[in-house]
Assembly symmetry: C2
Homo-oligomer: 335 residues x 2
């Protein structure tokens, strides 16, 4: 085996595609070697961009198709569009081992359904989970499930613990995985029966991949004391979206405060470098790349509204999951 990695890319999904996709490839290719980018989409739109961003032809393979999945498609209508959409073709290349991972900035539901139709589940995993990276005071967290499954049982949450820990270790080689179950804190009401059962099972059955740290409440997700946070898809999605909304609210209030007077405008210029550092740490593009776990190849979803920098980061996530042997880590540790 060489170190060469092949990433399948649906170039047509998301805002301002394929422009941001090709520019994102250009950014990623400058810091990463031994990558082949298989680009699925409209060659007439893609080829001029390859030239524009001066991408070397030996890193790029374009697979032309006119058929694309739209943002407005439901997962089902996207799948019914046939096996020649850029998304279907990109996923299918993984099925035939012609690529190692896939990324799309398009329709989330479509990516997941078409992936599930084409790729195998890892043995002994019942449900795939959607995971993402979340900044903390001490580094990065993996949080899952973020919405792939509304109804979960204890076996699912234990699988999520294993898959989330494997992802963390694939992305950050030297980090020790510490798992916690997202729960509420009130003494009398601590969690429902399913969460309590999961807690008991995780205490009784240690897994070499991670330490189990019990429950965590929403206000401690970003403390950094644990780094793999596990929830059913409904709860995880509520937490993710609420954090996003709170962050947007505070940043917008901060901007208002800083620009609401002349002295404010002047002094925020002085603060520019520090505020930039602050903004960079919270830049959602840094954490771009949700990962669908449970299938036998890495499936990465870039945010639809991200730009080329964000898309390049989701390519980095693809690369790391492959080099970090994410799928093998899961297979070797699943019960």
């Amino acid at each position: 085996m060489t170190n060469q990695i092949i990433i399948a890319i649906d170039a047509m999904g998301g805002d301002n595609s394929p422009n941001k996709v090709i520019e994102g490839i250009s950014i990623h290719s400058k810091s990463s070697e031994d990558i082949i980018y298989k680009i699925f989409g409209n060659e007439k739109l893609i080829s001029p961009l390859i030239k524009k961003y001066n991408l070397s032809n030996d890193k790029i393979k374009i697979f032309h198709t006119d058929n694309i999945v739209e943002n407005e498609d439901t997962a089902l209508s996207a799948a019914k569009k046939g096996k020649d959409t850029s998304l279907w073709l990109a996923v299918e290349s993984l099925k035939h081992d012609a690529a190692d991972a896939i990324v799309s900035a398009g329709n989330t539901g479509a990516l997941f359904l078409i992936s599930k139709l084409n790729l195998k589940m890892i043995e002994n995993i019942d449900k795939p989970a959607l995971s993402a990276l979340w900044p903390s005071k001490k580094g990065m967290n993996v949080v899952l499930d973020l919405g792939a499954n509304i109804d979960c049982n204890s076996k699912n949450l234990i699988d999520f613990s294993i898959m989330g820990s494997a992802l963390l270790k694939a992305l950050y080689e030297d980090v020790k995985a510490n798992v916690a179950l997202l729960n509420i804190g009130s003494e009398e009401l601590k969690g429902n029966a399913m969460i309590k059962d999961t807690y008991q099972l995780l205490i009784e059955n240690k897994n070499p991949l991670f330490d189990f740290n019990g429950y965590i409440e929403g206000n401690h997700i970003m403390d950094g004391d644990v780094n793999v946070i596990v929830a059913d898809g409904f709860t995880g999605n509520i937490a993710l979206k609420t954090a996003e909304g709170t962050s947007n609210f505070i940043i917008s209030e901060l901007k208002n405060a800083l620009s609401s007077s002349i002295i404010g405008k002047f002094s925020s210029l002085l603060n520019f470098n520090n505020l930039k550092k602050f903004k960079n740490k919270l830049d959602p593009r840094l954490y771009n790349g949700a990962i669908l776990l449970g299938l036998d190849k890495p499936v990465i979803k870039s945010h639809g509204s991200t730009d080329a920098v964000g898309f390049a980061n989701s390519l980095k996530v693809c690369e790391k999951t492959i080099r970090g042997k994410l799928i093998d880590q899961i297979k070797n540790n699943i019960n």
Copy 2:
């Protein structure tokens, strides 16, 4: 009926009590007339503070007891301490119509259990709900349930919609109540059966107290387009705590950014006034006072760690719920 209001106060609960409680009464009494404060707790500790804060004797009634509920008590152990704890006595004064509302900064579970043991539920409401205020871009939201009930049915969520709207209108007289159900956004997976049923029932059965605006995702809670956000207690608690954690994380990152260089320190001095305005808008003390809805008297929980300013705001919430006829609003609109 006079306009005089009687607030029962457990003076012994929470950090730094009874000091912050008596100072909080002093702050509140300066802006509010016709209030009698019935203070339950250790007279030896309370009397000197009454003098210190120069509180007029005709506004104050002290009810001495040595027995208090501790932070470490469970709800059950608190209730078992007997009927002469400061908390029990304060709640009991509502039962006998000797006070119009109660506030405590102490043990949350104890306040709720002892309230439920002593006070009647409003007719046709099955479960009480814990609600709180949450800032938005356009004003304030009421969010409930925040943890009183893990398992809810459609009837409960509809009751929460009515009670939350009544609270909003009691607190902000001229505001129109717009209710939304907290849900996740993925098309295929939108909500569980219970949420979908509730949605249908709210569409079919209009209530004069509020407009129903459908679903809301966590990232839009703070947009201000709706102002009563309804969830089961597990989901609501996760959202509340996650917002709190995100807010703490961002503020702490911001502080680091502003103080991480000399020019940062200097320029943040310049920004002081604007940042203070920003901080004030996000000040959790402003929103202090969670309200247990569903009982036939207002039960207010102040944050245990708040200070005198925060406690004064929870007294303001007591006053507004009484003057705004919260309980009558609920009774008149419940199905």
